[in-house]
């Protein structure tokens, strides 16, 4: 029944539109006006609309910055994250400034030079000096950003360590994460998917002596202020280990090992005290109470950021950053591979 009604409504809508068109055509014929020709009145209307749009666009940009910037990620919880954020802020200032320069000019000019029958445009083909300026100025700005970006990148990707990093393996499979700590020797034992059997879920080679003290866990705990070297593997398809609060991400690629290193700088307990984070949690909890959902406490997260199948949207793990002592205590409670297999 609804189907028939929908079809009837659609047919009526088309007929109405056709009739309106007829009326339109006849009336413009009566006025001896050719519909498709752009009149001064059109130019005036459209010119003003362009100007209005330009203004509305700038206003809504500021509104969005005001309303939605607080919803973006809070301050970074890693040492290199601070560097990335400052590069981000500078780049953002540059592009917002360019946006605020170019867009208003575009819409202003569209309005200012809206056509009129009695006007003639200027014949102005080129100006080498102007063109030189707007080639060279962006080039200089970009040179600065490129150099700054490349320095940051190399600092992030090849950090200089004062302390030896803790080695942690992040193992991805559809649709969950498994964590393996390197244990006392801080060296991961050899592992391969071919060795996966029963409880040996990440395929550790039990004959490799390095593997005996490795520990498999279902949550990530990290000590604050110690560099952590993550080594990523995948069992099936490409996943991406995304840790947004630490400004860290690396793909997990089957058949190879990738890595990323960072130093957590704020404990979970401390970040929960941060004013912005508290405001965020309060907003979220207000929404959750409304919907009758359980209340939420802020946690660092590891999530999958490369489409990996139907469960991609719910492939997550908590990350806890804590003091060196708490971390040591937690790690001591985890069983070694030698104990579990």
């Amino acid at each position: 029944m609804t189907g028939i009604i929908t079809i009837v409504v659609l047919v009526l809508a088309v007929i109405t539109a056709l009739q309106l068109m007829r009326v339109f055509e006849l009336s413009s014929k009566a006025r001896k006006q050719v519909e498709y020709e752009v009149t001064d009145r059109d130019n005036n209307y459209q010119g003003w609309l362009m100007l209005l749009f330009g203004i509305a666009m700038i206003v809504s940009l500021f509104w969005m910055l005001y309303a939605w910037l607080p919803l973006t990620l809070p301050k970074p919880a890693s040492e290199h994250g601070v560097e990335i954020d400052s590069l981000f802020k500078i780049s953002m200032w540059v592009i917002i400034a360019m946006f605020l320069l170019v867009q208003p000019i575009l819409f202003y000019l569209a309005w200012r030079y809206r056509g009129a029958k009695d006007r003639k445009a200027a014949y102005y083909e080129h100006n080498n000096r102007l063109e030189f300026i707007w080639t060279i100025v962006p080039a200089i700005i970009l040179a600065v950003l490129i150099i700054y970006g490349m320095t940051t990148w190399s600092n992030v990707m090849s950090p200089k360590n004062e302390k030896e990093p803790i080695v942690v393996e992040v193992y991805a499979q559809q649709f969950k994460w498994i964590i393996r700590y390197a244990g006392e020797d801080n060296k991961l034992g050899y592992a391969n998917v071919r060795l996966i059997k029963d409880a040996n879920v990440v395929g550790v080679d039990t004959l490799d002596l390095l593997s005996a003290d490795d520990k498999v866990a279902s949550e990530i705990h990290l000590p604050v202020g110690r560099p952590v070297l993550f080594r990523f593997r995948s069992q099936d398809v490409i996943h991406s280990a995304y840790m947004p609060h630490f400004r860290a991400q690396m793909n997990c690629v089957p058949g190879m090992t990738t890595q990323f290193q960072f130093t957590p700088s704020v404990t979970t307990a401390d970040i929960r005290q941060d004013a912005n984070v508290q405001a965020k949690v309060a907003r979220i909890n207000a929404l959750r109470t409304e919907k009758g959902l359980e209340s939420y406490a802020y946690d660092y997260l590891l999530l999958c950021n490369k489409v990996c199948g139907s469960g991609h949207f719910n492939m997550q793990m908590n990350i806890v950053v804590e003091s060196e002592e708490e971390y040591a205590k937690w790690l001591a409670e985890q069983k070694t591979i030698a104990e579990t297999l």
Partner: protein, 601 residues
């Protein structure tokens, strides 16, 4: 048919008159279906592209419902998707399939074939003064490859395990292993077959465009008298010829891995409890091959739109395009750079970090020629006498989106910043604005501007205005807010963000986006109606409705084989003599001789 085309080609080379009485009378099949006339083939590309566009946009409206109200029941979903939306709740696999096919259709079928196929075909012979393409027969074949690939792609929507679902980039192993997701079964095979046909058609078409532009220009049409549209189409075709074969090789190796047990992309995999024997391959190889096409592809989409915009903005500002040679230079610079930046899609794939630095450098360089283009468009408006045709409105909108989306490229092209925004909604916002919106606005500008050339009738202006304003406002309304959800860390291709309480407060933004998306999608009905209404009922087009300089407006309104009766006009000047001092009218067509003492460009 091939003989006719060659006849045209020979004649064109000499720019001689042509006797048309020798042609047999066209019947329905030779005129509308197996046509070798470039004008008809252009229309075939356009209609096919528009149909695919409607399918692609409709898909996005369906998955936007899920994103705004995750897990809620919408009867419309069950109507269209059947078992993939039991009780109106979208299945996660179907969500991924919709996202994947939406991307594939919009990127390849609408903005590559639909845009470049339509306007290269229509405008190359008409604007350079040729009777037809170098090979009318190959031109027809190129369309039929495209049509066949469209049919295969649409067929894949109906297979039992669903269409390809691994994202439009179809990275293996996900796309190689049917065990990993249902969409990687028969649907993925059809995707690969479809893309293989597509690449075939695209190559044949591109070679034809290149040969035509190089060989068949009429007398006086030097390279520096070519309209910027033709420059853009030529460079686009060259990009396509150099990069599409690499996509084909990537697809072929993937076909081997899927069907013949090779291990180009597969190594050490256990999926769904099954250990695979494949060893030694690397998915990173696929990513390199894919993006070696994938990045030039962005410019294959964008350059024709920029070319169309150059022409429309100059004509309707009644001013020469500012910095003609700089515009050509920046097209060439963008084209060259587009081949050395693909790695910026792979900063965090495990590629050597040193390469990350190199690709950051080359990527940010592209901003320079892009900035030159944007400033030149803006200066063209300055002191103009702007005629706001619907085409002109869309062109100005293109400049706006090109700037807005291009700027965020400075963030994403920077490897250090990409770490945290890679594959988030920030990326979705960026590429939809800079490439999706800019290209589709360019395509609309082209349709409104050259509709009289295609159908000999005028489109309705008022409906054009309405279509433009709704599209422009809703387009920004959809994609601008996505920057913020991206900066909040929301990954793309998530079926639902409800599993993460931290994303709860983004819900309002997602609802706003969905409202704009549905509004913008429905507004396209206005365009479709205007298009078909005007095709049959629109007022007859005058010879030169926009008072434009280029050669296509000297050809008769009624289409004919060979484009011009009698001799092809000779070109005497560049195409941008608008409002030239010393002339009564504010335009001087390219075939008007230079007056004594007049300064030629």
């Amino acid at each position: 048919m091939a003989d006719h085309a060659q006849e045209h080609a020979h004649d064109t080379a000499h720019a001689e008159g042509h006797d048309h009485d020798e042609h047999p009378v066209d019947n329905f099949w030779t005129k509308y279906i197996f046509s070798t006339d470039h004008k008809m083939i252009a229309k075939q590309f356009l209609i096919t592209g528009m149909f695919m566009g409607l399918v692609g946009v409709f898909m996005s409206m369906l998955f936007r419902l899920q994103l705004a109200w995750p897990g809620e029941s919408f009867p419309i979903l069950e109507t269209f998707l059947g078992k993939w939306a039991p009780d109106g709740v979208l299945d996660p696999n179907m969500y991924l399939a919709l996202v994947t096919i939406h991307g594939t259709i919009m990127v390849f079928f609408v903005l590559t074939a639909g845009l470049s196929g339509t306007f290269s075909n229509l405008l190359i012979p008409l604007q350079i003064g040729a009777r037809d393409m170098a090979s009318g027969f190959l031109n027809m074949i190129s369309y039929w490859f495209f049509a066949a690939s469209s049919v295969v792609m649409l067929t894949s929507l109906f297979v039992e395990t669903g269409p390809a679902s691994g994202g439009w980039t179809v990275y293996p192993p996900l796309s190689a292993l049917p065990q990993a997701m249902p969409g990687s079964g028969a649907g993925m095979t059809l995707w690969l077959v479809s893309m293989t046909l597509f690449v075939g058609g695209s190559l044949i078409g591109s070679l034809n465009y290149i040969v035509t532009v190089i060989n068949l220009r009429t007398k006086g049409m030097t390279m520096t008298r070519l309209p910027l549209t033709i420059w853009a189409f030529l460079v686009t075709a060259i990009l396509g010829v150099l990069s599409f074969p690499v996509l084909l090789s990537a697809a072929l190796l993937l076909i081997f891995d899927r069907s013949m047990g090779t291990s180009f992309y597969l190594s050490d995999i256990m999926v769904a409890g099954e250990l695979l024997s494949n060893q030694g391959g690397s998915p990173i190889l696929y990513e390199h091959l894919f993006w070696f096409l994938g990045h030039p592809e962005v410019y294959i989409i964008l350059l024709p739109a920029l070319g169309i915009t150059s022409e429309v903005i100059a004509t309707n500002s009644r001013k020469p395009i500012f910095g003609y040679r700089a515009m050509i230079g920046s097209i060439l610079a963008i084209a060259f750079l587009s081949f050395v930046v693909w790695g910026h899609h792979m900063f965090i794939t495990g590629m050597n970090p040193f390469l990350g630095s190199v690709f950051t450098f080359t990527t940010l360089l592209i901003a320079i020629p892009s900035a030159v283009k944007a400033f030149n468009y803006i200066t063209t408006l300055w002191k103009g006498n702007i005629q706001f045709t619907p085409a002109m409105l869309f062109s100005i909108a293109l400049v706006s989106t090109f700037v807005a989306g291009g700027l965020t490229g400075i963030i994403l092209g920077d490897s250090a910043l990409d770490i945290n925004v890679h594959d988030t909604y920030f990326v979705v916002a960026h590429f939809h604005i800079v490439m999706g919106l800019s290209a589709i606005f360019g395509m609309f500008a082209g349709v409104y501007h050259w509709f009289p050339k295609m159908y000999g009738r005028m489109m309705n202006k008022t409906m054009g205005y309405l279509h433009f304003w709704i599209s422009f406002v809703t387009a920004y309304g959809v994609f601008f807010p996505m920057h913020f959800t991206g900066l909040a860390g929301l990954p793309r291709r998530y079926y639902s963000s409800a599993e993460f309480p931290i994303f709860d407060e983004l819900h309002d933004i997602n609802v706003i986006i969905t409202f704009f998306a549905i509004g913008g999608g429905i507004a396209q009905v206005i365009f479709i109606f205007n298009f078909f209404y005007s095709m049959w009922r629109g007022p007859k087009a005058p010879q030169n409705p926009w008072r434009s300089n280029t050669l296509e407006w000297t050809a008769p309104v009624e289409h004919m084989h060979g484009n011009w009766p009698g001799a092809i006009p000779e070109v005497q000047r560049w195409p941008y003599d608008y409002s030239k001092p010393g002339y009564e009218e504010d335009f001087v067509p390219q075939n008007v001789p230079i007056k004594k003492g007049e300064h030629a460009h």
